[in-house]
Amino acid sequence: MIRDHFRVLRVDLADGRGEVVTLEGRDTVAGGSGLAALLFEKYGHVDKPWSDPEQPLIFAIGPLTGYFPLMSKTVCAFKSPYHDQYAESHAGGRSALSLRFADYDGLVITGKARRLSVVSLGSRRLEIKDVHYMQGLDLQITGKMLRRMFPGSGHRSILRIGPAGERGSAIACINADTYRHFGRLGSGAVMGAKNLKGIVIQGDGSFDLPEGKTYAALFQDVYKKLTDTDMMDKYHNLGTPVNVLVLNGIKSLPCRNLQQTHDEAVEGISGEKFAEETLMRNTACSGCPIGCIHVGFVREKFMEPNQYLYRQVSYDHEPIFAAGSMLGVTNAFKVLSLIDVTEKMGLDVMSAGVALAWATEALEKGLISERETLVPLKFGEPEMYKQALGLLGQGENDFYRLLGQGVLKAAKQYGGEDFACVLGQEMAGYATGEVFFTSQALGFRHSHLDAGGYSYDQKHQDKDVEKAVGFLVQDEKERVLLTSMVSCLFAREVYKREVLAECLGSLGYKTLADNLEALSRRVQEQRWKIRVATGFNPSAVEIPKRFTEVITWKGKVDGDYLTALQSGYAKRIMEMGRRD
């Protein structure tokens, strides 16, 4: 191990200084989600709004980061502008290994810079640079400029925000190294509120490895397991977009603002179609040989005769659902061009797509007019959506500014709450049924990754509330263990408890290795305690009517079952989240 405690860099943007903080707690919270919760307890304020300059923006890695393959993710924690409660969002890229090699277990940013700034750190550097001239720049240009301005090409991570984050949109993301994102719940706006345009982390440190042959042999074994399983095929081949046809086939793909769960024309945006026609290459997070990041291209004619430009755009199932089926857009290249605009603006693509889907239906129903939308939004018309994404990112008028705070906020003003596809936040790309809807609506991150609810829906025909709720609680606990290490969740089939214990043991974390059950339970409860203390009431979560109208391969969603699941899961959450 590098150390049996935590070494955290706290940067205060108000006075422009950093502080290296030593914290105990390795054996009780491990790192990642656990460390983020510990840091929020220390630096956060449950009773102050998310935008208060004193609120921390936290990044945390775990005890296994960099030491084993696919231990490649970073946990970002903050008080969310979306619901003003404690939140986490996760991303990979080079962020995790950069932080490891910069020799920090965590980074905490507090205060607000006087002018737009960038924090640059490494194992032997800390600089806060005034970049007021970068105000309003899109993410792509921002990335190019920061690459030129700071050292460490190839061995650094560049986190940055676009216009949406700068102006406080609750659906703004933090982009990590061009193709990955701390996407959900508005982390981009937290950076914006701090006048922070970017964070450059230079991974220029090194560490001795454990003595003896155990570690290297175990690494080899884990590496083999990870690359020999069907993960390589599932995530590397077509990647997550393989889900598009599968979900469409079982009537579980959200289409046209969830008015349908199946689209005849979906082959135009299938994983197969993207691979055959748009895929340029795969790329990977640092420390992961799987290479699940699929990079396609957008080619645009900008001038006659035959003058073209191209840009590279990463795609996954979720962006394809949000910028594709949800908007009735079934052309792969058009979907990529919509993702491309979303990227430039620094918006979370899932929330942005679902927001425009709601706006389209609201326009169809006459609740809003073109006075609000400025362009005639219509399902299946990508050019309109391309313009609208720019308007949403820039917060062009009152309507787009409100929509940029989340669909339900706009629906409360303009009407149309019944068909707002919101489950805690804008829905993810699974309309599999009651258990998934409950999982996302009440889940800690309101993410499809909180627990495998979509998988449970597909495997179970029964309507056993206790069993389903038990599954959600147990599955969340297992995932919390992984996000405290911090593993990519794609590796969850390999990193079972025994393997994690072996990995921790090989690095000298014997106490952690022997207490994984207590650890996962503790971190799971701790996150809920903070969430509840910041105002979360799971019983009060509204699941809009549209979700009860959904028809899947199992038939119509059972409203009573959904209500019972929400009630049962809410009870369990409050048991976990109650302060002693």
Binding site: G66, Y67, R124, D177, F207, S286, G287, P289, I290
Partner: protein, 147 residues
């Protein structure tokens, strides 16, 4: 004597498995830098990756520049490194025409020793251990079609 080559870098996904393996297995470190092969994006992630590694020069300018014999000529190209003889002067790094040597902040040099232990960790077969003079060592597997 075989040498390590990187003839198929257009396939690279930037996972760093090769350099992490070199650091772990050869240099006994957890590091991106203390490795004989280091991966860099070639002008931003959108333009792919380059491998920074020893081209197995013979004669090797770094060995000629080394004043203490810590770097000596390896048969078939590249260098044999004897760290105990190194005085951290950095002359090897200055002499290398392709920036293949990494000096840590104490001045300790790290360079590829052409052992090939990184090769099996590449998921896309970008790397190859080749005998000097073979096609891959000469660079490139693709045929030119002429113009």
């Amino acid at each position: 004597m075989k040498t390590l080559t990187a003839p198929r870098m257009e396939r690279c996904i930037g996972c760093h498995s090769c350099s992490l393996a070199c650091a772990r297995l050869v240099h006994k470190n957890l590091s991106w830098d203390k490795a004989g092969i280091r991966i860099k994006s070639s002008g931003g992630l959108s333009t792919g990756f380059e491998a920074n590694l020893c081209l197995a020069c013979d004669p090797a300018p770094c060995a000629e520049a080394c004043p203490t014999g810590a770097f000596s000529q390896r048969k078939g190209g590249g260098v044999i490194v004897r760290k105990k003889l190194c005085i951290r002067c950095g002359e090897c790094d200055k002499a290398c025409p392709v920036d293949a040597i990494y000096l840590d902040f104490t001045g300790e040099p790290f360079v590829c020793i052409h052992c090939g232990r990184c090769v099996p960790f590449c998921p896309h077969d970008c790397l190859e251990l080749k005998s000097a003079g073979s096609a891959a060592a000469a660079g490139g597997e693709e045929e030119e079609t002429g113009s």
